[in-house]
């Protein structure tokens, strides 16, 4: 197989197309621009639809409409636009609408340093919405993974009827590397109902995924973000209906953590120092771990490509023998909060953090922090 030399954002868009994406709506924002440009060029030729929306809210809502009309649909944005999409993402969770949102993180808060890299949306991706909810977040660290994880995002979205976030960052999105295009990236259709079926929002299984009809196919489907019974009828006061629905929607994702688990692990089997990082930060950490290993330090990198649901049990097991866990992030400490929950004393959890100007964390800085901990 001959590789292609691709930019992260282009690889992301190509991954979406290979997964079968037929609808893209977006609003211009740095640093995801190349995704829009790629989609604007390719989708019409493939029988798909590309729309430049009037704002991010319109982008995500038209993606929701397109998804119910039967298209595999996606939008791409960055931190500020991602914030604008959160209300609609909450709706997509509640209505079990499959869709993909790519967030190419830049340096906030606010407009901050808009062209520079940051990882300040980690908690936003998991907790940015109102209400009890969860969804799936994937975190690529190379153009190759931009392609593969975007395609995988569609597959998860369709199988589980859920929004999936591809959480990238400016460095990963703008770097160019060799990308191999694997076979079989096409995502399946969401489960479709048989004629006569009428329960599209409930399941006998506590974590079941109900079938999803397309509008216009004669099922008279009622889609609503209000609490609804299995047939879609609003039940805005019944405590049982609310509990059953929201508990199932959350369990649908949380209970599948083992099958969604996707970890890049590099280093010795039971490390004394475990390093945790995602996205571009993990690239420096990998190099640092390589150097530490060559000096005989028992170190390892734990990089959850499926960031949420968080692979908590795997992390706890791996850290059992560790003296310390070092969480390396291009923010002031977000992922570390998730990691802390799953590590027991006497193992220490420390952060190595950096923000400003898009400066990456150098492997030497990671090595220095590691030396302090051992």
């Amino acid at each position: 197989m001959k590789p292609r030399f691709m930019q992260g954002n282009e690889a992301c868009a190509e991954g979406a197309i290979l997964a079968g994406c037929k609808f893209f709506a977006g609003y211009p924002i740095t640093p995801q621009s190349e995704i829009m440009r790629y989609m604007a060029e390719k989708l019409p030729k493939l029988g798909g639809v590309y729309i430049q929306a009037e704002d991010e809210i319109a982008a995500i809502c038209s993606v929701i409409g397109a998804s119910w009309a039967g298209a595999k649909a996606m939008t791409a944005t960055s931190g500020p636009g991602f914030s604008l999409m959160q209300e609609a993402l909450s709706y997509a969770v509640m209505t079990e609408t499959p869709l993909v949102v790519v967030d190419v993180q830049r340096l906030g808060p606010s407009t901050g340093q808009a062209t520079k890299c940051g990882q300040g949306d980690i908690m936003q991706s998991r907790w940015g919405r109102h209400g009890d909810q969860t969804l799936v977040v994937l975190a690529p660290y190379s153009p190759q993974e931009m392609l593969e994880l975007t395609a995988r995002a569609f597959s998860i979205a369709c199988k589980l009827r859920t929004p999936v976030i591809v959480l990238s960052d400016e460095t990963v999105a703008h770097m160019r590397e060799e990308v191999y295009i694997p076979e079989g990236l096409e995502a399946p259709e969401p489960p479709r109902p048989k004629p006569g079926e009428a329960e599209f929002f409930g399941s006998r299984e506590p974590a079941g995924v109900p079938p999803m009809p397309r509008v216009g196919d004669g099922f008279n489907v009622m889609v609503t973000g209000s609490t609804h019974d299995s047939r879609g009828y609003r039940k805005t006061a019944d405590p049982q209906v609310h509990r059953r629905l929201v508990t199932r929607i959350v369990a649908k994702i949380e209970s599948r953590e083992p099958e969604l688990r996707d970890i890049d692990y590099y280093g010795v089997e039971s490390p004394e120092l475990l390093l945790v990082a995602v996205g571009s930060a993990a690239r420096s950490v990998k190099e640092a771990v390589r150097r530490l290993l060559s000096r005989g330090v028992r170190a390892a990198l734990f990089r959850p490509r499926t960031l949420f649901p968080f692979p908590a049990s795997t992390l706890s097991q791996l850290a059992e023998e560790a003296k310390a866990v070092l969480v390396v992030e291009l923010n002031l400490g977000q992922l570390i909060e998730e990691v802390r929950k799953h590590i027991k004393p006497p193992c220490r959890v420390e952060g190595l953090n950096k923000i400003g100007g898009g400066e990456p964390i150098a492997p030497s800085e990671v090595e220095k922090a590691a030396a302090r901990l051992l």
Partner: protein, 264 residues
């Protein structure tokens, strides 16, 4: 006992949750009668999209059809996504003046500019009904509402002329106090193409009686007739009276989804 509109409704959702005398029922019936007149024996082929507010409940759950009850103010982009993927479906948006003319106004203007092939029906009761009678961008100047206790210091927006200026293919204003005329406008709109907008001037019997100074739904409907008059809608309101009628621009502009398909 059967009603001629039964085939279009989900019987288990009736009676509606609307307050007695609310204009929403008249708007729903005007639309369904127009669909029936056009030969639709059911609502297959239609997809309804609505936002949040009392009138957004007209199609969801009452219409026996596909419906998407989306976020407050975001019915238009949702409808755009549906129409772009399934152009053969007739996509109809129902919403109130708060939903469409306040929080959702930006989307509406862009849909008219694009000439997006959807029909938008805006029930204008000049107030936020569901949340308790607050000021809307359509509330008459000086009117007392829950959130304008000293009188509304703002001027209302004329949605018909706003959307005509933005590029709509058909705009109209009817009133629930003239249901036959409203039905005729819906019929015209369903037969037209491109972006179509029908405003239905309505009452909120629960919250707007206060402003109208009326005591019963019947009185409110009578009073409503004093707030509207039949003349050229493009001339705008005069002495507080909203003109009723329809307007379409000369010539035909291509629709948005039609243009998107042309890119292939």
């Amino acid at each position: 006992m059967t009603h001629p509109l039964d085939p279009y409704l989900r019987p288990e959702t009736l009676p509606t949750p609307f307050c007695p005398g609310c204009g929403c029922g008249i708007v729903a019936s005007a639309f369904l009668r127009a669909a029936r007149e056009l030969g639709h024996s059911d609502l297959s082929g239609f997809v309804f999209v609505s936002g949040i507010g009392c009138s957004s409940w007209i199609p969801s759950p009452h219409f026996k059809a596909d419906s998407i009850h989306i976020l407050h103010g975001r019915s238009i982009p949702t409808a755009m996504g549906v129409k772009a993927v399934r152009p053969e479906l007739e996509v109809v948006v129902f919403g109130g003046d708060g939903d469409l003319a306040s929080i959702g106004l930006g989307h509406l203007v862009h849909a008219a500019r694009r000439n997006l092939e959807v029909l938008v029906i805006m029930v204008n009761n000049m107030v936020y009904g569901m949340t308790g009678g607050q000021l809307a961008p359509t509330t008459p100047r000086g009117a007392v509402t829950a959130t304008s206790p000293y009188g509304n210091p703002e001027s209302p927006i004329d949605m018909v002329r706003t959307l005509a200026a933005a590029g709509a293919s058909y705009v109209a204003r009817g009133c629930v106090a003239y249901p036959r005329h409203l039905e005729k406008l819906m019929l015209e709109a369903l037969q037209a193409s491109g972006f179509r907008f029908v405003e239905a001037v309505s009452t909120c019997t629960t919250h707007f009686q206060l402003m109208l100074g009326t005591k019963s739904p019947v009185e409110a409907l009578k009073k409503l007739r004093e707030l509207v008059e039949f003349r050229d809608v493009m001339q705008g309101p005069r002495e507080g009276r909203l003109p009723l009628g329809s307007w379409r621009p000369p010539g035909r502009r291509p629709g948005f989804v039609e243009s998107l398909r042309g890119l292939r």
